[in-house]
Symmetry: C2
Subunit: 552 residues, 2 copies
């Protein structure tokens, strides 16, 4: 039961996994949600396009839902919004750039007219029901990133969102340590802080370190310089423009999302291009190689990206040639290592010089390492601490940092998605679980793919399938003729024609003695077992065996 | 054409990829092969068990083939031997431990009687036809590892195999730098050296660094200590026995391959257990927790390994409990990160303290980093240099190290599998290509899985399949009744019954106007296109659509 002084915390995503961040804060009268992100599917989620949080708790409590607060414009924080807003009509609050990125999404999903995004100003407080809301600036790998402070009847909450500290940021945006210090002095009931990088000792380096590397490479390169990075990493694009300008190079932009983001960032004033260096890729031929920088998508090796096309000699405007220098200004997201390595290998084969994160300082990450996390814990001095954003071990290590600083195990709560934590004064306790499973989006389907479909896809992926077709006379229900067989993904059909023919014989033999559709349940199992056993004996493979009765 | 002074070099595996190492050295009269390894399948090789080299060049030149020299007993150097020896009757030469491991394999493949492995002594020269062969000791993550020196009419070859330098190795085995210096002074035509770690600056730390960490953890742990590592990493097992003995703990061994390897290594004298610390896991209950070390498989997170079972509370003898300390003494092989992370997360959830490579010095790698690679280049002073063992960028970076030391681009050859390089005195040139594609092993099938089968598996994995069955009257060839439909891995069959029913209608409509099997080619295409378009419009998915005509 929620009482007047209860602060309820319910993570619906992002705790125990990287992505689909969504946190619910609830009081007796009000609910506010922080972020509504998506997760890209893991390897075993075959064919799934993306994963979003289960919002049935929010649907059940829609009457209390006052707003969704967005910390910043990355997909793992905004990507589920179109799906959430289709189910719930609730106001969204975000900083200017985040709002711009959300509006692009809502347009794509044809929701822009029905739903609006309110642009907030960091530092200004507003009320959502009985909860006071205040955004504060943080440094992260996208401009206009914020954390959130909530003033609730049950106490103050600091929710950092993704952040790092950067005392020499490229675009002037520091994490607002002063506000954190101030609120810490006022007394904070709960801190929820970013655990993504809690494994890493020390400090995450400043963006400035990358600027120096870019400068060095551009001064050394005798030919073109091609830089690939995340399209949302506007500060990196600024560094590239700055370095190019210093070396008298033009910046040609390629890749749809890079063109879109650079255009938008220039329009909104998030990018500064005093020397008019930014140019259209179509005009590439107008400059000699040593006056050219190409700014590209594809830093994760995505097969259809501009950089991957260049590495496959398949890009409309750019053919990699001897003398080109390529910089992958990124680190591979876990799971993308293979794709990135393939692109790097291909670029080397084409004669390019390649700089990437393992061999050069061409990227820094956007998350705080252990010393930064400790500084925030020390300024905020929360009564309770919940590590957020991270797999389980990241949150455990983050909790240990807090305990090493003097917090007790009773004060540090490592939650998982769906855990309901109720904080009441000096007490906190788990109050149950809410639904928080993965909701899979595949094409137009949202939530219609279940574990059965995924298990079938895994089975099909491993050893393919063999369909056994048995004809049944619709007049008298009798089985007709010899079973047919269709196979894909199991063996080479032409080379293994003999094996498949013998499989038909086995299926036929399994029909012996049974000749009527009424017995199909028994026959089905017998065919399946007989054929599966036969094929495993012959090949040591286990294709999906699928007997089908067809009425004719 | 091979002339008397030609030295031909032909990599059949391991250049441009990690694994399935195999190098061919050929003169006018003789061929010797170094290593015959397997590669574990990459993510997109769905359902494939393992990958071996294409040995058709060796089969074509079997009359010249004098022997296969094995550098060490890891799978990526010996794993293809059973397949190669089934096709070729050729003597194998290996050091004592490697020979032991190979014999285990040959027994599994029922080849032990027909094929023998000759045990060599490092430093002793023997002749294979006109080629003098000499093994030299190297330090690597398995005992008895060697490199190979070949004395050929075309000059001397140094082939390092996998190696690192370790001035304080655990089991006393150094890389024989003295022999390398000596042969360098005699004059070496060709050096082939390990590129696996060419991205890494500096030196690979000594195994001793790990020993200190193990000591620290065992002294601190109040409960049981569980150490997981590679079963072949005998020196690591020795370190665990040593540390356990120092702290009065017994060592309980679990996991089939760990038990096998520890037993064999004790028998052969590769493990030293003066205090009789090594014990059977069945006797675990006889000691208090702080006297227990459990030595386990599963450091790569393999789902059926002992450690993964412990993490899933599914191990016969060990239930993870609060107070346990787990050490993953390994680094994840690329592609295994997700599995390892899951095991670490589960161990944390069960209350264990977990040490792993990202947060503690509990593992060092077995390959030489840049400064070590340069030292070998500098001692051997080869006329030509071919980087081996590595993906393309590793070999490129290794070649650059050589060039930074003064070798010319004409002297450094970055080859790929199948490239034939002929060295003749001061000249080297590419002399063509030999077949060197991946040979896939899937169950009992060797080489019968082709790109079509893999493409079908990928298609099935992504969006599943829809089989459309059309009955045809065998008497008159006419199509009978309404098409049937079977689907798996596409949509939830029960929830989407309506969609599948409408799909049948679409298939039926595609039959309109055509009613005879003679037109099946046309009908097939029409059904396929109509149904695929319909399903993509309805779901934005692209299942495999498979029209089948069944004669009844």
């Amino acid at each position: 039961m929620l009482t007047r002084d209860t602060l309820r915390v319910l993570p619906l995503g992002g705790l125990g996994e990287i992505g689909k961040n969504m946190m619910v804060y609830e009081t007796t009268d009000d609910i506010v949600v922080v972020d509504a992100g998506l997760m890209f599917p893991e390897e075993e989620m075959l064919g799934i396009d993306l994963v979003i949080p289960d919002i049935s708790y929010l649907v059940d409590h829609a009457d209390k839902l006052r707003g969704i607060l967005i910390t910043h414009g990355h997909e793992d924080h905004i990507g589920a919004l179109p799906y959430v807003l289709r189910a719930l009509n609730v106001p969204v609050f975000a900083s200017r750039l985040s709002a711009g990125l959300i509006n692009v999404k809502l347009k794509e999903h044809k929701l822009a007219r029905e739903r609006t995004v309110n642009v907030i100003t960091p530092g200004e407080r507003f009320e959502l029901g009985g909860i006071g809301v205040e955004f504060f600036r943080v440094a992260h790998s996208i401009p206009d990133a914020c954390g959130v402070i909530l003033h609730t009847p049950g106490g103050k909450v600091v929710h950092t969102g993704d952040f790092k500290l950067d005392h020499t940021p490229v675009m002037g945006q520091h994490t607002d340590l002063n506000r954190l210090a101030e609120i810490g002095n006022e007394g904070v009931a709960l801190l929820c802080s970013d655990s993504t990088y809690a494994e890493v000792p020390g400090y995450t380096p400043s963006e400035q370190a990358v600027g120096e590397s870019l400068d060095f490479v551009m001064s050394k390169a005798e030919g073109r310089v091609i830089v690939a990075t995340f399209a949302s990493l506007i500060s990196r694009v600024q560094q590239v423009i700055d370095a190019a300008t210093r070396h008298g190079r033009k910046v040609y932009v390629t890749g749809r999302s890079m063109i879109d983001n650079v255009t938008m960032a220039l329009d909104l004033g998030y990018l500064d291009d005093p020397a008019d260096a930014v140019s259209r890729i179509e005009d590439l031929g107008k400059q000699p190689p040593n006056k050219i920088v190409i700014m590209s998508t594809g830093s994760q090796g995505e097969p259809t990206s501009a950089l991957a096309r260049m590495a496959n000699q398949d890009h409309r405007w750019v053919s990699i040639q001897h003398g080109d220098t390529v910089i992958l200004s990124s680190s591979p997201i876990p799971g993308n290592e293979g794709l990135v390595n393939r692109v790097v290998d291909n670029l080397f084969k084409l004669g390019a010089e390649v700089y990437y994160n393992r061999i050069a300082n061409v990227h820094v990450r956007g998350h705080a390492a252990q010393e930064e996390l400790k500084l925030v814990l020390s300024l905020v001095k929360p009564r309770f601490f919940v590590p957020i954003h991270g797999e389980y071990r990241h949150m455990m290590l983050h909790a240990r940092l807090a305990q090493a600083m003097g917090m007790t195990p009773d004060q540090t709560w490592v939650l998982e998605d769906g855990d309901i934590l109720d904080i009441r004064g000096l007490n906190a306790e788990l109050a149950g679980r809410a639904p928080a499973t993965n909701v899979y989006v595949d094409g137009l389907g949202v939530g219609d793919i279940d574990q059965v479909v995924l298990r079938d896809r895994r089975h099909l992926a491993t050893d393919g399938m063999v369909v056994i077709i048995v004809a049944v006379d619709r007049q008298n229900g009798r089985l007709v003729g010899r079973p047919d067989i269709v196979s894909r993904g199991f063996v080479d059909i032409e080379e293994s024609a003999d094996l498949l023919e013998r499989t038909r014989d086995m299926a036929a033999s399994a029909l012996d003695g049974a000749d009527h559709l009424a017995e199909w349940g028994v026959i089905h199992t017998r065919i399946k077992d007989t054929v599966a056993r036969f094929l495993h004996g012959e090949t040591r493979r286990r294709p999906m065996v699928l007997p089908v009765a067809v009425e004719v």
